[in-house]
């Protein structure tokens, strides 16, 4: 009797283990078979593929904290972003801060007064080589194949916050509390609200681009024309022309993340 029960328990244990690990094994097999073309695409150039990027013309925003706030507000509405007073719990997609905070690796000795006095806009850089995607254990954050946007699946995210550790730009926020009661503006029915315990960040307005609209922040800054947005892989695009004509800087370029957001200062 005893040995029978023991054999049964052993068999059950093995079966349970196999059951738990089976999806992992099959998924891994799938992943390895599809990995080859993905790598080839990245290394063999990006001809014919879209890679969205943004140029922020700070010259048009230096004396305009009002425009910067308008852009953040447009984003808040477009994406149902909650507002928390405690900086610990804040959710930030696009926000303004000092030059030293935005560009800590650039020298801040003897800067032009205008740079010292103004705030700079920060948002997700939608890196071509995103560390957040590399570390995510569930592929809840991923780079969209067809346009280079670094996106999030809020339903898959387990809330481990490894991506927040990996992001050198502090672009990611975690929902420390239930966000819905803290949405102080009108709800935008076109975009989902999130739940507690997941990470979120700027999505380059992927949902608006899909509808043929411009990013919300670009639209909000239209009166001064401070934002250029378009395909970095297309030499004829407006962003590429702006980049060709103006010296620009990026945040922490030395880390090799290849940010898609450029600044004219």
């Amino acid at each position: 009797m005893d040995t029978k029960r023991r054999t049964f328990l052993k068999a059950a244990g093995v079966a349970a283990l196999a059951g738990i690990s089976a999806p992992a094994v099959t998924k891994l097999a799938e992943a390895s078979s599809s990995a080859v073309p993905a790598v080839a695409e990245n290394s063999a150039g990006t001809a014919g593929k879209i890679r969205y990027g943004m140029v922020i013309d700070m010259r048009k925003l230096y004396d305009r904290p009002d425009i910067q706030e308008k852009m953040a507000a447009a984003c808040r509405y477009a994406h149902n972003i909650p507002t928390f007073d405690d900086p610990k719990s804040e959710i930030k997609w696009i926000w303004s801060a000092s030059y030293e905070e935005a560009f800590p690796e650039h020298s801040s000795a003897h800067n032009a007064e205008i740079i010292e006095e103004s705030e700079f806009l920060m948002l997700c850089n939608h890196c071509d080589n995103p560390p957040c995607v590399r570390v995510c254990p569930t592929k809840a954050t991923f780079k969209m194949e067809h346009n280079g946007i670094v996106a999030m699946d809020y339903h898959r995210c387990i809330g481990c916050r490894f991506c927040m550790m990996a992001c050198p730009y502090g672009a990611r926020s975690f929902n420390w509390f239930e966000p819905r009661p803290h949405i102080t503006q009108e709800i935008n029915p076109e975009f989902p609200t999130r739940m507690r315990g997941v990470v979120e960040k700027c999505n380059f307005c992927a949902e608006r681009l899909a509808r043929g609209e411009k990013p919300a922040c670009q639209e909000a800054a239209a009166e001064v024309g401070a934002i250029y947005f378009g395909d970095l892989n297309d030499p004829e695009s407006e962003v590429r022309k702006v980049l060709a004509e103006n010296p620009t800087i990026q945040r922490k370029p030395g880390l090799g993340t290849k940010p898609s957001v450029f600044y004219i200062v």
Binding site: E90, G159, R161, P168
Partner: protein, 395 residues
């Protein structure tokens, strides 16, 4: 064999009862966090990992530390460790369970934890960490159980178990290496971005794990009539001293790299941890007293242990208390160094090069204490099992 855990003195039950109270407190705190949110912790947008992950990191080391008994006994046939090797395995199991619990309480969506298996992602170090931690847990469960059962029946363990025993050696190294890789591969976190992180973790692990075993042996000698033997204790102390010195050496190397190169990113975290750092006219130095306590405890403890060995007093019964004090000092030092300083030192300097300090909340500490109580509970039960089996064989 498990029935041995159900029969014990009133002292045993009282101890388990006290631990159960702490487990209960932890459970209540966690239920609060589960229903209200991680906002109940001291973590925030800038300090995204806190007490939970730093405890996890420290405990992976404790689990890996058992290697310092397994390796000499099974590979080098060092017989003096024969009686206590099981204690290394029975320490690793609770330590690993605590690691998994700390990960679970840290997750924002713990019910989705299986996504890590449903959507395995080999480029994430967290995926590999899960694999090696579960693997090491499995190896320790099977090895300890099979070997203890054989010991009880007074027969040699089956040959096949040695495959798992030898496999557990690289696994012990891998759990802490991969845990270090969670940190040391992240761009923009200068304090963590150091190739010496993994060796440093291993060195401190090979001191911290064995220390718990020494302390447990000294305790069990008094209360459970279990003597590990002077030679074994003496040898473990040697291992502890070398491992802790190696760890201290690695920390000194970090200091050299930072302060000789004068690269701000490398200096900032050490500044914050050991001297305090000024930012926008405010001084941030809440960990400074802890870190210096760690330094003094480490060297104080090591001097005491080394003196005991050099003066040959280590083999006398009177030395037990001094050994315990020295070990406790080194253990606390390593706990502060890795269980507090490493994670928070890296995070206090934000990606914006601002400084943010972290203070755990009462609720968060309740959960943490609860998980420690779970671990101590398990260690108590498992060590009682091991000791009872030894006594049974002796009779």
């Amino acid at each position: 064999m498990i029935e041995k855990a159900l029969r014990g003195s009133s002292r045993y039950w009282t101890w388990l009862g006290i631990l159960a109270i702490f487990i209960g407190i932890g459970a209540v705190c966690y239920v609060r966090q589960f229903f209200i949110g991680q906002g109940l912790t001291g973590m925030g947008r800038d300090i995204g990992w806190g007490l939970y992950i730093s405890q996890f990191t420290f405990l992976v080391g404790v689990a890996a530390g058992g290697l310092m008994l397994v390796l000499p006994y099974y590979v080098h046939n060092y017989k003096a460790f024969g009686r206590i090797t099981i204690l290394g395995e029975f320490l690793a199991i609770p330590a690993l369970i605590m690691c998994l619990l700390f990960i679970m309480v840290d997750l924002g969506q713990p019910l989705r934890a299986m996504n890590m298996i449903l959507h395995p992602t080999p480029n994430s170090m967290l995926f590999w960490d899960m694999c090696v931690l579960l693997g090491y847990l499995f190896l320790n469960l099977i090895c300890s159980w099979v070997i203890l059962t054989a010991e009880r029946k007074e027969v040699a363990p089956p040959k096949w178990i040695y495959i798992f025993v030898y496999l557990s050696i690289p696994f012990a190294v891998s759990i802490h290496t991969v845990t270090a890789m969670l940190y040391c591969g992240l761009p923009g976190r200068d304090f963590w971005l150091s190739a010496i992180t993994a060796p440093r973790f291993l060195a401190s692990a090979f001191a911290a794990g064995p220390i718990i075993i020494v302390l447990a042996c000294l305790l069990m000698k008094r209360i459970a009539n279990f003597d590990a033997g002077k030679e074994a204790i003496n040898k473990i102390l040697t291992i502890i001293i070398y491992a802790a010195l190696t760890n201290a050496f690695f920390v000194c190397l970090e200091f050299f790299v930072a302060y000789y190169s004068k690269i701000p990113g490398h200096m900032h975290s050490l500044d914050y941890l050991f001297f305090g750092i000024e930012h926008n006219g405010e001084m941030y130095n809440n960990l400074v007293p802890f870190m210096w306590t760690s330094v003094f405890l480490c060297f104080g403890g090591l001097i005491v242990l080394a003196w005991l060995k050099l003066s040959k007093k280590v083999m006398t019964d009177a030395a037990d208390w001094i050994i315990a004090a020295g070990c406790l000092a080194v253990f606390l030092s390593l706990f502060i160094d890795k269980g507090l300083g490493f994670v928070l030192g890296g995070l206090a300097i934000t990606p914006f090069e601002t400084v943010v300090e972290y203070y755990p909340t009462v609720n968060e500490m309740g959960v943490t204490i609860g998980i420690w109580a779970v671990g101590i509970f398990m260690v108590t039960v498992l060590y009682k099992l091991a000791v009872d089996v030894e006594h049974e064989v002796e009779e």
